[in-house]
């Protein structure tokens, strides 16, 4: 790619992809911003003209706004905590030589291939159902009163379901990171007198820093927008309404596209605030 001709040829050939990607992102974004300044009620007259900042003010002053923001953050934080901690432990476990390693690894990764809707339904009906669920049977076996998971411990249940889905991803990335650790470093630490816990703390954990950062960043992107798990389990009830779900309700249940779009713009702002905090906290791990 040194000559002038090859450089302009490269630009020309990359152009379609760049234009497509830009369009893909810019068109919906522009439409969202446009609608957020309109009074747009599809079943009640359609586009009823400009609304100024009315939608923004209404969305933010609604009593459901701040609870939705907190719910979103708690779910993201809870899932991150569980998947990273359990992911590290599982990765350490799977790194040990054992019989049937290949099969076990595939089984561990399997939940990641189950669609969110399906896994949430499986959890809801097979595990968490208060009369026929496996948990209910287990509780009764010990003589306890079955828990109505999705109404009594709704947040915990959703965090559990989503963690189950994302644990394989975290495990997979962390496992490959652990496998890339030079075994001589661990042996050197052993000779230097470091016990198993100290080897974990001083050698393995710092080595995993970058992988943990990547897991946190990627998972945050996807977790901020989880929807299916909430839709098929609680339907946003019992304090599980996230910002995404709130927007969905404003647009489709209340048929208010303008209000929902304003919510969408807030969601973008929230995502950016979270991103800034994350980059502050963990971003330095990415510098080589």
């Amino acid at each position: 790619m040194a000559t002038k001709a090859s450089r302009s040829a490269a630009r020309l050939m990359m152009a379609p992809a760049v234009i497509l990607l830009m369009g893909w992102m810019l068109v919906p974004l522009t439409m969202t911003v446009w609608f957020s300044f309109r009074k747009y009620l599809p079943l009640r007259g359609g586009d009823l003209g400009p609304a100024g900042f009315d939608n923004y003010v209404r969305f933010v002053t609604s009593s459901s706004f701040w609870p939705a923001v907190w719910t979103t953050l708690i779910i993201v934080g809870g899932v991150l905590l569980i998947t990273v901690v359990l992911g590290i432990l599982l990765a350490l476990l799977l790194d040990q030589p054992m019989w049937g390693q290949g099969v076990v690894r595939i089984l561990v990764i399997a939940p990641f291939f189950v669609m969110p809707t399906v896994s949430a339904l499986v959890w809801k009906n097979m595990f968490m159902d208060p009369t026929n669920g496996l948990f209910a049977h287990l509780w009764r076996l010990f003589g306890a009163e079955p828990v109505a998971w999705l109404s009594e411990a709704s947040m915990g249940s959703i965090v559990m379901i989503v963690s189950w889905q994302w644990l394989p991803f975290a495990t997979l990335i962390l496992l490959t990171a652990i496998q890339s650790l030079d075994s001589e470093q661990l042996e050197a630490a052993e000779m230097d007198g470091a016990g198993p816990l100290q080897r974990f703390g001083h050698i393995i954990l710092p080595h995993l820093g970058r992988a943990i950062t990547i897991v946190i960043l990627i998972q945050t992107i996807f977790l901020l927008s989880i929807f299916a798990e909430i839709f098929v389990t609680t339907g946003g009830a019992f304090g599980t309404r996230t910002l995404t779900y709130l927007i969905f309700q404003r647009v489709l249940e209340s048929q208010n596209v303008g209000l929902g779009s304003a919510g969408g713009v807030y969601a973008i702002i929230l995502a950016n605030i979270v991103a800034i905090f994350l980059m502050r906290i963990v971003g330095k791990n990415l510098d080589a």
């Binding site: 001589e184 050197a188 052993e190 050698i203 820093g209």
Partner: protein, 334 residues
């Protein structure tokens, strides 16, 4: 104090026995080099001594005490790895201090020891850098620094110079020898490079397939190799080993003669040959000469001034007093 004794030590990985029963004593303060071709078990032997691998049977004694089941950290040995195994996220200072921190030493004592190690190894200016910012030779020195701060009974080196370029290797060879003289501690050094073995060792242990072929000082091994393996392995270029009729004439199955012990002449001599490739090193020239007595070309060392054309006919005379004779089992005949 660092006297290491191996008594009937064996090591098997599953069915495969890599170290057959082996006995060896490494005296206090001695620089011992394990040398052998790759896969001869020399690194495994070092790891057995370090405690990084469990021995299958036998006893390892360090300073007269049974250390067979002692964990690596408590054997009082320090190891320098082939890849240096520095901790990449720690500064040089923290790397060197790591074993001391693990031993829960006081910060003042740690500081003092790190400082003196850095002085010895010329690392004072690099203490705040990360290993990634250092050159190969500097990393090597950090690895050695991490070993010496512990003031161990013995140092174990696992091919420490194999990742360095040729010029640095010569330099580090000198530095390690110097360090040995300064510290006067037992060192066990593994290498496949017989030049390193010859130049550094007080005692060389030649290994092949887990067996000890010969133990002795560098010159002992060079001048009186016990068998054809040691004869061919020690010395560069290799000793010429000749079998067949010419060997039988000397009442041996194999005869060996080093390249510097053959006189070359263009008019008369014991063996007639044709000059093949010549390697000019400046000070010396090595001629590869094809002769009737052997299928392999004979290597002959001559002074750097001697010039011979490719294909020229020459006569060779081995110096009788330097001729090595070996029997059918490859053992030396006195």
């Amino acid at each position: 104090m660092g006297r290491i004794q191996l008594k009937d030590v064996t090591k098997s990985f599953g069915e495969a026995q890599v170290i057959p029963p082996l006995n060896l004593t490494i005296e206090d303060g001695e620089f011992t080099v394990f040398v052998g071709p790759s896969g001869c078990g020399k690194s495994t032997l070092l790891r057995l001594i370090a405690g990084l691998e469990d021995i299958t049977s036998g006893v390892i004694e360090i300073n007269g005490e049974d250390a067979t089941d002692v964990v690596p950290a408590r054997r009082g040995l320090a190891m320098v790895f082939q890849s240096y195994a520095l901790y990449p996220h720690m500064s040089v200072r923290k790397n060197i201090a790591f074993p001391l921190r693990m031993a829960k030493m006081s910060p003042d004592e740690i500081d003092r020891r790190v400082k003196s190690a850095a002085d010895v190894l010329n690392l004072t200016d690099y203490l705040e850098r990360r290993p990634g910012q250092l050159s190969g030779g500097q990393r090597q020195r950090v690895a050695i620094g991490r070993a010496i701060v512990r003031e161990p009974a013995a140092f174990l080196f696992d091919e420490p110079l194999s990742n360095l370029d040729a010029a640095l290797r010569v330099g580090m060879r000198m530095e390690i020898s110097e360090l040995h003289k300064k510290l006067d501690t037992t060192m066990v050094y593994v290498t496949h490079d017989q030049v390193e073995a010859m130049t550094m060792a007080d005692k060389i242990v030649v290994l092949q397939a887990g067996y000890i072929e010969q133990v002795g000082s560098p010159l002992e091994l060079y001048q009186r190799p016990k068998n054809t393996f040691v004869a061919g392995f020690i010395g560069s270029p290799k000793m010429n080993l000749v079998t067949g009729a010419e060997a039988a004439r000397h009442d041996a199955t194999t005869i060996g003669i080093r390249p510097e012990h053959i006189d070359i002449s263009d008019s008369e001599g014991a063996w007639k040959g044709i000059v093949g490739v010549s390697e000019h090193l400046g000070s010396d020239t090595f001629f590869h000469i094809h002769s009737d007595i052997s299928d392999e070309p004979l290597t002959v060392r001559a002074s750097g001034e001697l010039l011979l054309d490719y294909g020229a006919t020459v006569f060779l005379t081995p110096r009788a007093e330097y001729l090595h004779r070996f029997d059918a089992r490859g053992l030396r005949i006195e």
